[in-house]
């Protein structure tokens, strides 16, 4: 067993220096005591923990350091962040937006995004951040499913992604446009307002209303194999888990400069790209621009980043870039590097130890769990390629699988795999604060996620004899690409809307950089023939509607494999793509 051992000095300085002891002594009640709670015992609100509690006493500390597109660096203190989020909460009040109503964001990573997000939570509204590279189709679908009342976005994104579909979004009452008010649509047009005007008109000072820790706070959409995206609902109490897991798995504390490269449109970018660093009172680095190897090294060095949370795809791109770029910079401030999104190969862990001066700590969690569940730790050795061990306060297990690939349920019960090294579905014992509280309007789907007191993750893993977990694959057809989860059904539905397409099947094609790439197979309707022009047209068609989740590859394949009931077998397509044996074909018909 390969091991990356940590020197004694590294172990001692870790915020959780002894994993075994922490697992014995940790309680969620103890973690809850790390929160301040709203003054006067009025409950628990994420925005109070993240902003207001630091604004008195540590008000001058830098909360956000924003690197803009044009190269400017803006710092916002906790006191200033409080003032701005207060004003936004007052603005929502003035618009008549009620508690519990959904406020969506479709914004680049600029200061506006963080002000809107935290101000929304202050007002008792539910925040639903969308990835700004989503095309019009995923944006509209999520706004519809989530009954978005307010959307904050840029004039350009509004024009391209939302305006053409505004008539189909009856719940959407207010669109708040960022940027120079003089350049956006006039106030009042189609219910559009300039965010700047609203903030200018809003009053300073906002008292967060009493907030039950079980009040909904965040709505994150995630993809399933079939059907529509699911809206996972998280409550204010989730902050307890965001905070505690950031200490244990990210080694994060108030003196850190923390860079989470995930966009808040994905759960990582909210739990750890907004909430956790601020509840800790750290300085959160925000970078508006996307990946660029040279620039990222500059950011790490010049901003003196101490804790860095990123994704395997980015790390693999940096590794391809060569070690020299790292050696040219002073990365001495960098103390801890962690990664999430898809399995991290052992080579990258070793590369990081050598080139960045500290190994990458892989961890595992998902939208529904709200926070990191399984991780490698700063104070512990690393087994490269393993996703690590359960966090203090988290009980994990491996469940035997049935014929459908998911956990086998026998008379309401499940069976744990006790033999080390045997595949099964990863399951987590219910009871931590950031576990999702529902799929919006889909109680049946929510209930189906649990069995016998376990939350069933849909990921297949192995556990070794020492209790370390190793990722094996998905139990379903969901695609993990560049740290993002993509539902094949959503992509297939868009392709099927093209007049040339009779059938579509979408799989994750293994890729050395992205983990998996979205690849589409289509059959054509009578009267259409494969050609380069049609290929390009279909790619363009999908990109226009889906944005970043569109297929990167597309082939016409007249022989898609079906079950006898007519369902396309994505699993078989994937086996073909990999040149693997196709397995039991007894239920298959090839058209």
């Amino acid at each position: 067993m390969e091991l990356i051992e940590k020197p004694e000095a590294v172990r001692r300085r870790a915020r959780m220096p002894d994993y075994a002891r922490a697992r014995r002594t940790f309680t969620w009640a103890g973690a809850r005591a790390q929160m301040s709670g709203l003054p006067g015992g009025r409950g628990l609100n994420i925005a109070h923990e993240a902003v207001d509690r630091h604004a008195t006493g540590r008000g001058d500390a830098v909360a956000l350091r924003v690197l803009s597109r044009d190269g400017a660096v803006d710092e916002v203190t906790y006191a200033e962040l409080r003032r701005r989020t207060d004003r936004f909460a007052n603005a929502l009040r003035a618009l008549g937006v009620a508690r519990g109503e959904r406020v969506f964001t479709l914004l680049p990573r600029t200061l506006d995004l963080y002000v809107v997000a935290l101000g929304t939570l202050k007002a008792g509204c539910v925040l639903s951040p969308l990835f700004s590279a989503f095309g019009p189709e995923p944006v509209a679908q999520r706004l519809r499913l989530g009954e978005g009342r307010v959307l904050a976005t840029t004039p350009r994104l509004y024009e391209r992604r939302v305006r053409p579909q505004r008539a189909d979004l009856p719940d959407l009452r207010h669109v708040l446009l960022t940027g120079d008010p003089a350049e956006g649509p006039d106030d009042g047009e189609e219910g559009c307002s300039a965010l700047q005007h609203l903030l200018d008109a809003a009053e300073d000072g906002f008292t967060i209303p009493p907030t039950d820790p079980e009040d909904p706070a965040l709505l994150h959409f995630t993809s399933g194999t079939t059907g529509r995206p699911k809206g996972a609902v998280h409550v204010h109490e989730a902050a307890v888990a965001h905070h505690a897991t950031a200490t244990a798995a990210l080694d994060l504390g108030p003196d850190d400069v923390f860079w989470c490269t995930a966009d808040p449109g994905w759960v990582t970018g909210t739990s750890y790209g907004i909430v956790a660093p601020l509840t800790h009172g750290a300085t959160l680095l925000v970078d508006e621009r996307d990946f660029d190897a040279e620039r990222w090294y500059d950011v790490l060095a010049e901003q003196r980043v101490t804790v860095w949370y990123t994704a395997p795809t980015a790390l693999r791109m940096l590794a391809r870039h060569g070690a020299e770029a790292a050696h040219r910079r002073d990365l001495s401030a960098l103390r801890h590097v962690a990664s999430v999104g898809e399995p991290l190969n052992a080579e990258v862990v070793r590369w990081s130890a050598e080139v960045l001066g500290t190994p990458v700590h892989d961890n595992w969690w998902q939208t529904e769990t709200g926070a990191i569940m399984i991780s490698n730790f700063a104070g512990e050795d690393i087994r490269p390629g393993s996703m690590g061990r359960p966090l203090p306060g988290i009980e994990a297990t491996v469940l035997e699988r049935g014929p459908d690939g998911r956990a086998l349920r026998t008379g309401g019960g499940v069976r744990e795999v006790t033999t080390p090294g045997v595949d099964g579905e990863l399951a987590l014992r219910v009871g931590w604060p950031s576990l999702f509280r529902g799929y919006l309007h889909e109680d049946e789907r929510y209930r189906a996620s649990f069995a016998d007191g376990w939350y069933l993750t849909g990921d297949v893993v192995r556990r070794d004899a020492d209790g370390w977990y190793w990722f094996a694959g998905r139990a379903d057809d969901v695609i993990k690409t560049a740290g993002h989860l993509v539902g094949p059904f959503e992509v297939e539905s868009v392709l099927m809307a093209h007049p040339a397409v009779a059938e579509a099947a979408v799989i994750g094609k293994p890729d050395p950089v992205a983990g998996e790439l979205v690849k589409a197979f289509v059959t054509l309707r009578p009267g259409w023939w494969p050609s380069d022009a049609l290929h390009d047209e279909l790619i363009a068609f999908a990109r226009r509607r889906l944005g970043s989740v569109a297929p990167k590859e597309l082939v016409v394949d007249p022989h898609l494999p079906h079950t006898r009931s007519g369902k396309i077998l994505r699993r078989l397509l994937k086996a073909r793509e990999l040149g693997l044996p196709e397995g039991d074909l007894s239920t298959v018909e090839t058209s």
Binding site: A133, D292, D536, E537, A540, F541, S548, K552
Partner: protein
């Protein structure tokens, strides 16, 4: 008489190669409307995987070896075309 700054046939051919490479990744009206001097990643909304695919495509079709240090020179159609002609393509 040809003005000194008029695009040569080589420039034109290089731009066509760049546009053909982009067409494999992000075809459509945005590409048709793309100006030679616009930031192509922004205008076509290419993510880093798209950009990497574009680089690989361009390298494959032209035979020019493209290092990561060269990426800044692929910011626009015009600069990418200049990069290609400097490398002797077409």
């Amino acid at each position: 008489m040809i003005p000194a700054d008029a695009p040569t046939a080589r420039d034109e051919a290089a731009r066509a190669l760049v546009r053909a490479g982009l067409a494999r990744i992000a075809p459509g009206p945005d590409l048709d409307a793309l100006e030679d001097t616009a930031d192509l990643r922004d205008a076509l909304e290419l993510d880093s995987l798209d950009f990497l695919a574009f680089v690989e495509q361009l390298s494959r079709t032209t035979g020019v070896r493209i290092e990561e240090d060269d990426y800044p020179r692929l910011r626009t159609v015009a600069s990418a075309a200049a990069f290609l002609t400097a490398a002797g393509v077409p």
